[in-house]
């Protein structure tokens, strides 16, 4: 069979043992790969109720069946784990070159459990597996960790996924970083830190094999043409996500001052055209023609000398809207700092945004912040907070817990200022301005994630089955949300980048052709089969959480979103009709009114094994 390497590496950090396993044929057929493998392996391997920071939690690192192939934009990697931030199932996605390198080492996946007695990193080179001493790397940031491992192993082309000080200090939203791209969300870096695992270094040259090489080459060429000829491609490949602040501010849904406003005054300073003026060059993940990334260098003013690879839209928002200041240089400085220290910029922004509002309300004071003035417009204080979070110093120790835990620890009525779903901080979209997008944020098993059910129809005006969509309407949003979520789940079986996937617009046929010609599995050629697997994956993710005690009570929006209106802009006066939307969504999914998949739905999806006898 082509595509797969047919090999999983199991690593036990407690016993310091490696074990190779083959892929199960049923796993391949029923779950395809990527996100499908991740949820099935995690569902099978983790007992309910385990401590996310304990030895029984697993980190499942995966490359997709098309990673390291000649096809464009299938080379990202995913990591799956029980999240210390949400207490539930989590998936996080990283880019750069690590995913394709994993395949080139001859592996489809690495599954890591246990806790190492001493700091270690893993060195994996085509069938050779080593635990290596990471004592000398302890405390180093992600940039230096990459550099020193490459120096130690005398190979500048080694690909590394690592944690920074935030992961070592078990910041609940620490990410896993590889060449300045990261699997940022959900606290995978904290899980790595709890396991005393600093990094995983890879090097491989094993070639990709295809079931039908000529067919794959043809399908790959068609895929390139589809992207290249899309009318949106020239601009997106030039600007990446740095243009998105124009959309969300114009639509009045750019969360500002902890979701109290929908437009940031002066946001034009953060438009894509402004970033283009200070751009040094474009960057891309392995074999990706989207090249959404860019190296930005600030040459003058307060932030002169600061640079980063990015920031992308979420980080631009994170260090502007929540703290009420539109300062391009600040977003660049914060982006690089978070990348170096190993912090998810979105959750950090959520915690910092909440802290600014708590400060304004007098619920925390200068004595709590160590003298920092958390007043709107003071961007330098946000930079200080990132450092305090990563090292758990001062008030940073509180912010490092995430907004849900912050509210619990602080009490004093602060719960109303904690903007999250299931413990995961909101991204850069106000749900009141896009109801299907908000419904997805509210219902996703991983919490408020923007990538797993993005409502292109509402935010970018694309059509749903040929139909224009009113972003404020409640009607039909359960159906659209399910469609968006299942679509992403289907495309993530191949860990297809969501940006490239956006060009499919729901037409999975080209992806199906690539999968079939690579693997030779006949069912993969059928677009309808991919949709079914997408829905199967989504339901199994929900079931993981149901087993942990999640239900409707966890699919909940903060009161600010459901009861307060935005004061100005193109989304002014809107609230989020959570209960109506949720009832419709559960019905569309074939779940009961508690948010639990029915036995009939589970049988239909081939998930009967999850039903208790």
């Amino acid at each position: 069979m082509g595509g797969y390497k047919n090999k999983i590496l199991r690593v036990d950090l407690t016993t310091r043992k490696f074990e190779e396993q083959t892929l199960d044929d049923n796993l391949i057929h029923d779950y395809i790969g990527g996100r499908g493998f991740g949820v099935k392996l995690l569902y099978d391997n983790l007992k309910p109720g385990i401590d996310p920071m304990g030895p029984d939690n697993e980190l499942v690192f995966l490359a997709g069946p098309l990673a390291d192939s000649t096809a464009q934009s299938f080379h990202r990697w995913k990591v799956f784990f029980k999240s210390p931030l949400t207490g539930g199932y989590f998936k996080s996605c990283g880019g750069a070159h690590w995913g394709s390198e994993l395949k080139a080492t001859g592996l489809d996946a690495i599954i890591i459990r246990g806790i190492s007695e001493k700091p270690v990193y893993l060195w994996i080179k085509e069938g050779q597996y080593e635990f290596r001493d990471a004592y000398y790397l302890t405390g180093l940031d992600c940039d230096d960790t990459h550099e020193l491992i490459r120096e130690e192993l005398r190979d500048p082309l080694i690909r590394i996924a690592c944690i920074g000080p935030a992961g070592e200090n078990k910041v609940k939203y620490a990410g896993i970083f590889s060449d300045r791209r990261c699997a940022g969300r959900g606290g995978g870096g904290a899980v790595m830190g709890a396991k005393n695992l600093k990094a995983i270094a890879l090097r491989g040259k094993q070639p990709m094999e295809y079931s039908d090489p000529a067919g794959f080459a043809e399908a790959s060429k068609a895929w390139i043409e589809a992207i290249r000829t899309d009318r949106g491609y020239p601009f997106f490949s030039e600007t990446g996500t740095q243009g998105t602040a124009a959309t969300t501010n114009t639509l009045g849904m750019y969360p500002t001052k902890n979701f109290r406003e929908g437009m940031l005054q002066g946001w034009e300073a953060l438009d894509g055209a402004e970033f283009k003026k200070v751009r040094v060059r474009k960057t891309a993940c392995h074999n990706c023609m989207i090249h959404c990334g860019s190296i930005i260098h600030i040459n003058s003013g307060k932030w002169a000398g600061e640079w980063s690879e990015g920031p992308e839209y979420e980080t631009i928002w994170g260090f502007s809207g929540p703290i009420g200041v539109a300062d391009l240089g600040l977003t660049v400085a914060a982006d690089h700092l978070c990348d170096r220290l190993g912090v998810d910029t979105i959750s950090a922004a959520g915690a910092i945004g909440m802290a600014y509002e708590l400060y304004e309300k007098g619920l925390i004071t200068r004595s709590d912040t160590g003298g920092l003035e958390l007043s709107y417009g003071n961007g330098s204080a946000a930079i200080s907070l990132v450092e305090q979070i990563a090292y758990r110093k001062g008030v940073g120790d509180l912010l490092a817990e995430g907004v849900r835990f912050m509210a619990k620890k602080l009490d004093r009525g602060s719960e109303q200022y904690a903007m999250h779903v299931k413990g995961l901080e909101f991204p850069a979209y106000d749900p009141r301005g896009a109801k299907a997008h908000g419904l997805s944020l509210m219902t996703l098993p991983i919490g408020a994630d923007h990538n797993s059910g993005y409502s292109f129809q509402e935010i970018f005006g694309t059509r749903y089955k040929g139909q224009k969509i009113d972003r404020f309407a409640v009607e039909q949003k359960g159906e659209i949300t399910k469609w968006n979520q299942d679509f992403v789940a289907a495309q993530e079986t191949g860990i297809l980048c969501n940006f490239a996937g956006g060009y499919l617009r729901g037409n999975l046929q080209m992806f199906a052709r690539l999968l079939y010609t690579a693997t030779g599995v006949k069912d993969f050629e059928d677009e309808a089969y991919l949709w079914k697997v997408g829905e199967r994956i989504y339901n199994l993710e929900q079931l993981f959480n149901v087993r942990e005690g999640f239900n409707r009570k966890d699919d909940i929006m903060p009161d600010r979103i459901t009861k307060e209106t935005l004061p100005a802009g193109a989304s002014a006066g809107k609230t989020f009709e959570a209960e109506t939307l949720l009832d419709d969504y559960y019905k569309q999914r074939g779940w009961d009114t508690s948010g639990i998949p029915t036995a009939e739905k589970l049988q239909e999806l081939g998930l009967g094994f999850t039903i208790k006898q």
Partner: protein, 89 residues
């Protein structure tokens, strides 16, 4: 009358500025504004608005798809925003 046209993304690159003030005869419609801009910046401007799926036009805080708003009359002082889709965030 005078209206303010605002451009984002590829339309901004096409026009070369983020915003411009445009003189139109009283009673002019959105279509007249688009025609004027196409004369000034090339037919590609009209083509992008017509064919780039997802492009929206905002007048004040109200948003429309292009085919819904072409016959809408403008009034002095209106701000007309041309917002193409950007695809990603």
């Amino acid at each position: 009358m005078k209206v303010e046209a605002v451009f984002f993304a590829q339309l901004r690159e096409m026009v070369g500025v983020r915003q411009k003030h445009v003189e139109l005869p009283a009673g002019a419609r959105v279509r007249d504004l688009v025609d004027l801009l196409a004369r000034q910046h090339g037919d590609n401007f009209r083509d992008e608005i017509k064919n780039l799926e997802g492009t929206r036009i905002l007048i004040g805080d109200r948003e429309y798809f292009p085919d819904e708003v072409m016959d809408t009359r403008l009034k002095d002082g209106d701000q007309v925003v041309f917002l193409p889709p950007i695809f990603g965030g």
